[in-house]
Each structure stands twice: as C-alpha cells, then as structure tokens.
Symmetry: C2
C-alpha cells in the first residue's frame, strides 16, 4: 500500500554530547581501536540488550562532525535510528520517558571522557549530518605571552614563540568565502576540497580584569558599570582561532592553523599563504598542526520546518552524478 511498508518503524533520536579527544583515535568506529563512536555504540548495545552484529537493529550513529585522533568536541551532535520497542528497554524500573532513561544510563555507563548533554526525539526531517548548516571549530594556543594554566594542558597547544595576530588575521581573512582548500586538506575518494568558510579569525582572549577599572576593555567596563565582579575565565590570555564553515574537509582546520602560525611567527609571509589559497595543491609545508588544541564547538541547524529541505538540498549536491569534481562536496564532512 505505502512506500514505507518494508521499512521498520523507527524513531530518530538526536544526541548532543562532548568528549575529551585525548585518549580516542577519533570519532569513527574502527576495529580494535578506542574511538568515540565505538564507545557509545558499545554502551548502547549493552543498555538496550542488542547483539553487536544484529542486522535488524544496527544502532549506528550518524555524526555532524567527524573528529580526528586527539581532537575534542564540546558540542557534537549525532543521530540514531532505533525501533520503539528497543528504545523502551532503556526504561527498566525508572519512572521517566525512554529518552530520559537512555540519557541517564548512557551518562552512567560511558567513560569519563565522554559526556552526554541530552537525548531527545529529533524533529521531523532532522539529519545530524545533512541538515547541519555550519560547523564551528576553535583552536587554542598558548604563545610566549600567554600565562600557561596546567589544567588546560590537554586542550591547548604551547608554542614557544611570539605570534603576530594581525598577520594571522590577514591570512585568515583570505579563507572566507567559497574556495578550494586543496592546499590545506585531503579529499576523500570522489570528493572535493571545496568548502565555504563563513567566519575565520584569531583573537587573544582578554586577560582577566579581576578588579574592574576604567582602563579595561569594553566588556569589563560594562561589567564594572553594573557593579559586577568579573569571574575570571580559564582561557584568558590564550590565542584562539575560530572558524565557521558549511563543512570541513579532512585536516582542513589544523592545516589552516599550521599555515597561519607559520605566518604568525614570521617563518612565512602573507603572499605565501595567498599563493596556497590561489593554487590548491597539497604538500608538506601545509600539513596539519597537533590535534590537542582543536575542538568542535558548535553545529548549527536550521529551524525545524526547514530541516528536511536543507537535508534534501545537501544530499542532492553531494550525490549529483553529472556535476563533476568541482561541483560536488566531500562525501564525509567534519
């Protein structure tokens, strides 16, 4: 009768989570290696009493931003299709909805370097990967001017040099727009390295104005005017790179950071960077920088009523057979 006769009825869950990537070989499941996806899927199978190789209930996560080995996520998003009867098994003796029960059980079972923020039924048309409008990554560096906080050693890269943020921002500005980032990324088979960067900038997080006074920056003096006492931030003094794009190709953020840093320490000049942007060619001088400074911080989705059309549009772009290399996007965004 209907087109969906052969499909099992499934519920799509949206899972928001965070992880310290330091002890993971990236997101994607790989045999006999510790990955974020692997840990969560293993926990799901245990909680829901599903065999690991059950073909009817694969419990496979689809993620918004595939992160590499050692890269962190503070706000990652994935989805999971699950049959209602299997989901219901999460409830057990709890007096809460099944999604809440699953959230609590996952939070308890998962190792300390993964935190589940929340689990809910996804709105109609939601696809963690294809509905996403844009991803935001932040790369944190302590340079010679920064005061090092040992508590952040796992998520900050130390560079024993002075960074010229103005020069780095001139390089970053050249990445904005639709470009082929072939100098800074490795294409997947059949994919491209064309991406649209929406924002990209370097900033030094203001040093903590603990006792507000007239000499401090705008934000601080606003707080002072309101009589508030500024709560110091853990990141004060760090150099942070924020980049927002529709999607990222493999190694793209870390390669751009590496190139900007080379400009920032004076090893390369802006023309070198502009040349790499103009002629997309992968080679040694534009390889990726160390992973520990990088964090996926945000994935933006459209309003609920636009989710399905967004996913259809992206899916179409990425599966069009006739557009050739230049029109398609990478088949696995990050």
């Amino acid at each position: 009768m209907s087109e969906t006769t052969n499909e099992t009825c499934r519920i799509r869950l949206r899972i928001d989570l965070a992880y310290d990537g330091g002890a993971f070989f990236g997101w994607a499941t790989q045999p006999a290696i510790r990955t974020v996806q692997g840990e969560i899927e293993t926990a799901l199978h245990r909680i829901l009493h599903v065999e690991a190789d059950d073909p009817d209930e694969p419990l496979r996560l689809v993620v918004a931003g595939r992160t590499d080995t050692g890269v962190h996520a503070s706000h990652q998003v994935c989805h999971l299709d699950i049959s209602p009867t299997v989901l219901e098994r999460a409830v057990g003796h709890m007096q809460v909805p099944a999604t809440t029960a699953l959230e609590h059980r996952l939070q308890r079972l998962l190792p300390h370097d993964i935190a589940v923020h929340r689990i809910g039924v996804a709105p109609t048309g939601f696809d963690a990967r294809f509905s996403a409008l844009e991803r935001t990554y932040v790369y944190r560096i302590a340079d010679r001017e920064s005061e090092v906080d040992p508590r952040l050693a796992g998520c900050v890269l130390h560079i024993d040099d002075d960074l010229d943020l103005d020069a780095m921002n001139r390089a970053a500005a050249a990445t904005i727009g639709l470009h082929d980032f072939g100098s800074f990324a490795t294409p997947n088979p059949g994919g491209t390295t064309i991406r649209e960067v929406k924002r990209a900038f370097w900033t030094r997080v203001p040093s903590r104005p603990l006792i507000p006074d007239e000499g401090s920056d705008t934000v601080a003096s606003d707080m002072a005017a309101s009589g508030a006492y500024i709560v110091p931030t853990l990141e004060s003094g760090l150099v942070c790179f924020t980049i927002v794009a529709d999607a990222f190709a493999r190694n793209m953020v870390r390669s751009l950071v590496n190139a900007c840093v080379q400009v920032g320490i004076g090893k390369r000049d802006l023309d070198w960077f502009l040349g790499k942007m103009a002629t997309p060619k992968r080679e040694g001088s534009t390889g990726p920088i160390a992973p520990q400074g990088l964090t996926l911080e945000h994935v933006a989705y459209p309003a609920d009523d636009l989710l399905a059309s967004r996913a259809q549009a992206i899916r179409a772009v990425r599966t069009l057979p006739d557009t050739g290399t230049s029109g398609t996007r990478d088949t696995q965004e990050r």
Copy 2:
C-alpha cells in the same frame, strides 16, 4: 657599623605561578609527600647546585595563599630570598639575565602540573604573604543544568541537582564584611577565624552565544554590534562562586561553598546559614566541600611605594601580644 652587618646580602625574587592541584598534597612542603612547594624547592636546589640542607642558602618559598590538597592555583605568588652569587648560577651558557635564566630552567625542569608565569626581582618592601591586600578564590560547579565538558573534570565539581542561585547569593551576601567565620573554618593554634570578606557572589557563566543575535545578553550583543564573532568559553553554563577577602582561614572557602550549596539545593534554609554566621561554632554540617572545584585566581598587592607599610601593618596586627583573640588574625593565611 650598620644593623645589617650580620645579614648576608640577598635578593628577593617574586615568582608568579600556576598549578593543577589534583596530584599534590597541597602547597606546603611535607616530608616524603608530593607538594607544590616541595617540587619547586627541589628544582631550585638542583638548578642552583645548593644542597637540600645548606643552612646558608635555605631556598625557602614564602607564599601568598597556602592551598590545601587538591586545590588549584591559576595565579599564585610567592617570594624567595637568594644570594646574588647563587642566583647567578642559573645563567650558565645562557645570554640572558639571571632571573630570566632561572625562569626558563624552572619551566623546563618542573613537572607539567606546575607552570611558572614569571620571575623577577621584587620591588623594595615586597612580601608575598604580608604585603598582599586580598586573595580571590573561584569555585566551579556543574549542576544539572550545566553542560559537562569532560576536559574540565579535574577542576569542576559535579552536583546532580538543581541549584537556586538566588538563595545562594543571599547566603553569600551575608558573608561580606568583617566576621568571625568560626562556623566555616578551623583556626590555627593562637590564631582566629576573623576575616574581612570584600566580595562574594554566585553566577552562572553565560552560555556561549556562538552566533550573536538580539536575544543574547549585554556582553554578547556588544560583541555582535562590533561585528565580532564570540569565541566560546570553556566555562559557559558552569556555576561559579567568586570570593575576595583580605585573607582566608583554613577550609573557609570550601566550607562556605558547602553551606551555600546546601541552601541552593534546599536542604537548608537561609536562616540556618545566618545562624552559622551569627554564632561561630565549628561542627559537622559546615565542613568543607570537595577540593577539585577550587582555584586561587588572584592575589592583589598595593602599589610599589605602599608595599613596605602594608607588610609592616599586617605583621604588627598578627604579632600584637595584647589584643587578645578577637583582635588577631590567623598566623597563616590562605
């Protein structure tokens, strides 16, 4: 001829540093136990080729805020008196001033959970402990509303409950001024628990307004108006207690935090807290909360020309024999 004939000429160094307190049994040197002071003094003896028990060159650090086991410091201050000839040994083959050389060598030799921000010759009259005007501590909590970041597990306390920040702020407000904190602190022998709290408040760090819009808070909209893209902070969503006092008695901050949290989760009411403030008496219900959420964030000193008079005044207050218990301060501030 002069009063100082018998004193060896010494240089006083000011050392600014940070540490992750998680793997230390506090600041103060203790035999056969890993402490921050112990690690640094051991490193100093090695770098400067001084025997550990050399009576002429003790290399003893005097600290602004003695931290307990598991408590962190992002901006600790201490001083060290050292003879010029010994200090000069730090230079070796380096072409830099002795203080810079010592700074570099310490940074390299110290373990990863201690970071030396800088070392310099202290201004005349400077005393890390007695010149200090005030100390600032911050306690960080993730409650049920917070999004947990696994990277911060070592410096945030998780509380699986909802916190009523208004109630906690009413309690915090009652601590401001000169009070006997005997319900919240353990006096040292011969000392008191009277301290002057200058500021004390709870706040939830605003959630990161990654994409600035009209609906966000003042700070965010300021940034939006200037066209900047907000760099997210690691602490967004956490509940932070900031407290500033002339000095702190033993266990005082963590005991106040514990009492505020009991009010915040509704286990105790404000009257209970006010009663503890009115009748200073140490007992079980006002013991200290876990240490990992606590960080010494700042030590304030007067302008250079007021350092000596401040130190003299504080030293006098703390050594006056006739004032009795109520007039003296604790002999070891934190």
